[in-house]
């Protein structure tokens, strides 16, 4: 498979009055063509910052993509792109769907105009062509009455419809990568299911690579090929969907997986819950970022950051428990039942 995006040692900081917040601390990953990669983690773990850094949408300053960070799109370093190249890069090569469709559309423009805008700029279409294309795009994202809806303003549409419009805008120039930042979080379950199905359909149809940023493991199980679990600005475990759901090895991944109730668990049984809160990213991190909340924490975890270790070709993690001289720790009981061999 062809690599379309390579992120190497990405560091992003924000300069605030309180000090430098190191939001992303050395992330590397690849994205292949036609593949869906999910970035999973709790709020503040750096998943949205990573996504925005790829689009170069972070305001610099206060944000700073540190020297040495590389984001290679087909071999071209996004970090060093000039303004002109960036404006073609965004839209034609990579585009993004945001979490909140209420605030990310312009309330003073019809949705048709908002779709046409990128077509006129990037594809040099005239008004008429652009409008016809906008209607076609609205049909692709399953909006009924597309010819009418083109003239609607965002406030006339429901949340699900607005998210479809966002997707239509994002797709307008056939991007090679689509970044979806919590695309279903603000939506109801039945609408969420519709949007996920739509993204799946579009991925098949256009062979787009997708980076899915989410905290919802249910959505990930449905949709992603590869998963990266992030914690405090670092990737703690990565692997295929199967690796993460059935064979995870990192205590944080275990905690994430066990803290959601399954429909088959007994009710009122105590849910697994992780004590404490994520570390403050202003302070320097010593050792493993998860050590303060980890029940298997050892002395070394407080002192040194674990190196990333590959278990198989697809599955790797950063945890001292994998060290040969560490005590053997089994996957939690509740998760083991899930392995279907």
């Amino acid at each position: 498979m062809k690599k379309i995006l390579e992120v190497k040692d990405l560091h992003v900081s924000f300069h605030t009055y309180a000090g430098e917040v190191k939001a992303v601390r050395g992330i590397s990953f690849d994205l292949n063509k036609g593949e869906t990669l999910a970035l999973v983690g709790e709020s503040g773990c750096g998943k949205t910052v990573t996504a925005k850094a790829i689009m170069r949408l972070l305001k610099e300053p206060p944000a700073e993509i540190k020297k040495g960070s590389q984001i290679l799109f087909n071999g071209e370093n996004v970090v060093e792109m000039k303004k002109k190249r960036l404006s073609t890069f965004r839209g034609e090569d990579v585009s993004m769907i945001f979490q909140d469709p209420m605030t990310s559309l312009n309330p003073t423009m019809t949705v048709g105009k908002q779709i046409m805008e990128s077509l006129e700029i990037h594809k040099k279409m005239n008004k008429k062509e652009a409008e016809a294309e906008a209607i076609r795009l609205l049909e692709i994202v399953n909006i009924p009455n597309a010819a009418e809806r083109v003239k609607a303003y965002p406030h006339e549409l429901s949340g699900g419809m607005r998210q479809r419009v966002m997707i239509a805008i994002a797709l307008s120039c056939n991007p090679k990568i689509l970044i979806a930042d919590e695309p279903t979080t603000a939506l109801d379950v039945t609408i969420q299911a519709q949007i996920i199905d739509l993204l799946g359909e579009l991925k098949e149809k256009f062979d787009t690579s997708i980076i899915l940023v989410t905290h919802d493991l249910g959505v990930v199980a449905n949709f992603a090929d590869k998963i990266q679990v992030m914690y405090a600005g670092q990737v703690v475990e990565r692997g295929t969907k199967k690796d993460i759901f059935y064979n995870s090895r990192h205590p944080y991944t275990w905690a994430l997986l066990s803290s959601v109730p399954r429909l088959n668990t007994e009710s009122k049984e105590e849910l697994y819950s992780l004590g404490g809160t994520p570390p403050d990213l202003i302070l320097p991190l010593k050792g493993c970022p998860f050590s303060s909340r980890c029940e298997h924490c050892m002395e070394i975890c407080l002192e040194e950051r674990p190196e990333e270790l590959s278990l198989t070709e697809t599955h790797s993690l950063s945890c001292w428990l994998q060290h040969p001289s560490a005590p053997k720790v089994e996957r939690p009981e509740a998760l083991r039942g899930e392995i279907h061999e």
Binding site: D188, T190, A193, Q194, R262, L263, T265, S273, G275
Partner: protein, 318 residues
């Protein structure tokens, strides 16, 4: 009225006037009861009236019609004194832990405010009680001098819970208490709520759109659609054998964190979106999205009928 019901809601309606000649029927003829020590879950999509229902049960909104009986007394026709007593016994935890705590009050004062009205404690007793409550919700006494902005979302929601517990209530409406929180923190809060219920014998009305959490915490669950309850059953019956087409679709839409299950299961797809509650379809409100819709569905609205033991459905299919 049986003794074991703490709350009985009978034909409750709450309409809001919107513009000229239009009314939004947020809660439209809802009937249910909650037994002592039980948790009733209320689920539905946004705009279905679940929050309005919870607030009307507590008397925060005046009911347009219908009754809410709390221990045999109608909440909506209580006099001042009775209402004060009722408010001591029934409390609420709000959805947004950021907006529901006064940023200018210390945590101690936020928790102590209700006690000042209802319990009349000495300064020393008050502080002891605040410390005790902080301990109960997993914080410690040093938090009492702090302000809300110094705390994280999960900690704030714990304050919201401590505030509700401060007046020693019997009944708490939990209005989406976890939806603003991260997964790992959600589990902490749900565990806390379950633990407190066991220790203090509390009765909950648990409102949420997260069906798997509702299943986890509730004894019985009511599903709301456009202001009406379409199905009400024990949580086991509801999730294992949902009868109403809307409940079936809702349950099949929950994404399950297990790839193999996700790959193999069939989804019941719902077309379209929830219609506007200002002008809902005549007859059954769900009929436009329902795959089983027949002629009768557009003619008359189905009533909530008992199909099996304690299993109520409002659908013409039954």
């Amino acid at each position: 009225m049986s003794k074991e019901n703490l709350i009985e809601v009978v034909n409750l309606k709450k309409y809001f006037p919107v513009g000229k000649n239009a009314t939004l029927k947020a809660v439209d003829d809802v009937t249910f009861n909650i037994k002592k020590g039980e948790t009733l879950g209320l689920v539905g999509e946004s705009g279905c009236g679940k929050t309005t229902c919870g607030r009307t049960v507590l008397g925060i909104y005046k009911a347009t019609d219908g009754h809410v009986y709390f221990d045999d007394k109608d909440v909506h026709s209580m006099n001042r004194e009775e209402k004060l007593k009722f408010k001591k016994r029934a409390q609420i935890i709000f959805q947004d832990p950021y907006a529901s705590l006064d940023p200018r009050m210390t945590i101690g004062d936020i928790i102590g405010e209700g006690m000042d009205v209802h319990l009349k404690l000495s300064q020393k007793e008050r502080q002891e009680k605040i410390n005790d409550l902080l301990g109960k919700v997993g914080l410690n006494s040093e938090h009492s001098a702090r302000f809300p902005h110094e705390l994280s979302g999960g900690q704030r929601q714990r304050i919201g819970i401590a505030r509700a517990l401060a007046v020693e209530p019997e009944f708490i409406v939990c209005d989406e208490p976890i939806s603003a929180l991260d997964v790992s923190i959600q589990a902490q809060i749900v565990n806390l709520l379950i633990k407190l219920q066991r220790e203090l014998g509390l009765t909950y009305l648990f409102i949420s759109h997260d069906l798997s959490m509702v299943k986890h915490i509730s004894d019985r669950v009511g599903v709301m659609y456009l202001g009406s309850i379409v199905e009400l059953a024990s949580n086991k019956a509801l999730y294992e054998k949902p009868l109403h087409p809307y409940t079936q679709a809702l349950i099949s839409a929950i994404p399950i964190p297990d790839p193999e299950v996700e790959d193999t299961r069939e989804r019941i797809k719902l077309n379209g979106e929830v219609p506007s509650p200002i002008n809902p379809p005549k007859g059954c409100k769900f009929r436009k999205r329902c795959i089983h819709a027949k002629e009768i569905c557009s003619e008359s609205a189905p009533e909530l009928k008992e199909i099996g033991k304690d299993h109520f459905v409002a659908c013409h299919l039954f």
